[in-house]
Assembly symmetry: C2
Homo-oligomer: 203 residues x 2
Amino acid sequence: MSKPPDSGRRSERSRRAILDAALALVGEVGYNKLTIEAIAARAGVGKQTIYRWWPSKAAVLLDASLALAGEAGADSGWSGFPDTGDLAADLKAVLRATADEFADPRHDAPARALTAAGATDPELGARFTDQLLEPQLALYEARLRSAQRAGQLAADADVRLVVEMLLGPLTYRWLLRTAPLTHAYTDALVDSVLSGVAKVTVR
Amino acid sequence: MSKPPDSGRRSERSRRAILDAALALVGEVGYNKLTIEAIAARAGVGKQTIYRWWPSKAAVLLDASLALAGEAGADSGWSGFPDTGDLAADLKAVLRATADEFADPRHDAPARALTAAGATDPELGARFTDQLLEPQLALYEARLRSAQRAGQLAADADVRLVVEMLLGPLTYRWLLRTAPLTHAYTDALVDSVLSGVAKVTVR
């Protein structure tokens, strides 16, 4: 079976147009009003083209978010978690950038849509967690293990728990909109996670 | 204008039937497939009765969850946050109970549905946060301020941040289903929040 010589390139152009349309539309109309029809119209493709590649609007958004995450990494020249040897400084730099990303409407709308869809759809939630989230958590874990080797993090600390102590509060405040995500907040979070909040008594 | 003598009691019975039906159905069919029609049929009322009181299925679920939270409090005889004088023990007891509640299907399905709906609907999210969540966070904050007065928590600790350090990781793990919510996990979380995870060096 042979394809026309440029069908791969055309497919890639359509795929890209569909992902861009999905990201733009979810920001404009919100997830609940997002439809496959509107994505197809905006992308200039037929509805069937979308259904050939994706089973649902949530699946389109997941791939769009994966593409966006890849670009964000490429744009910023980010090639991994910083490791300057100063754990607190590195965590603060990354959490500040994460707070800025959550505040960016380009990221906020699709991230809310996927979190919402994944919360009530276990199969989609598992794909979201495995494909989009876990690779990011792995970067935190690698940095924390490096800090354990350097003697900056308790040797018996559960690195997954520490990652959740950093990203859990940030995600909670973002998702529930209980308070603004400022750099002062993320800095205080990093200091509190590292040092603890119990009163240290000198005996 | 006078009402028939028992219309108030009949209304309350209908309201209660609608809330019970909404909770049962969201657990059975999930939020995405939940409809006002199905709630009305299960409750034995007309669709218009529901629309007279609530604008959407999410609004019904919010009131159902508020009723459920009130009952859970009454069932357990819970009249406030424990304050035995031992902050770590009190936090562990409450977080264990919270983990158990998240694992209870009666709570899990409506909580996921409301979190999802609130994530993408700011107006509903604000009601969810103000009416259901903030009263719970206030109980944590009161316990933490008591610990500050007792000299167990750092005097300059931001109590809201500490609450988020406790509930953020738990909620994150629950929502994203990254790992099971065990009592060992919530105990380790409390210890890590209080003591910090940085390696303490003796100088």
